[in-house]
Symmetry: C2
Subunit: 63 residues, 2 copies
DNA sequence: ACTTTTTGTAAAGTTTATTTGACTTTTTGT
DNA sequence: ACAAAAAGTCAAATAAACTTTACAAAAAGT
């Protein structure tokens, strides 16, 4: 599962730590998801989508 | 997290067992998700969305 | 009424997501 | 070049998703 978190983070000038704080997860979780180590839970995907005002599909891609 | 799986199932005349088979999960998993016992993983949410030709947000609602 | 199908539920086990703490490497600012 | 900040990573622990087996309750078909 790919995602655009790194780009979105750059666009918003967020550090991994800042994004983690906004999503209410640990910095390592953000890092791991960005690096494709695992997929976020559905609730976390929703949180990210709301944060960036995007649909889940616009952030995460199944391919 | 709410979802419209039961309705979508009814619309397509799918039993829980049939939907489980199409989603490649156990029947109990479908049942548990429908009953709100836990949320699906993001990959599973994507599978359901593709199956019904809907966006994740059209099937699962955060509130 | 009876039989079959579907749904609900529960326990025990496996896998995956997430945490915390610690440490290294890379990037950025001066 | 140096210091500080950010990103990467690892191990051990907990939580949440998902499996299998098994059985009971409810719904549907004849």
């Amino acid at each position: 599962m790919k995602n655009r978190l790194k780009v979105l983070r750059a666009e918003h000038n967020y550090t991994q730590a800042k994004l983690a704080e906004l999503l209410d997860v640990s910095r390592q979780t953000v890092n791991a998801i960005e690096k494709g180590k695992f997929d976020p839970s559905l609730p976390l995907a929703f949180k990210a989508a709301r944060l960036f005002n995007l649909s889940i599909e616009e952030i995460f891609q199944d391919e």
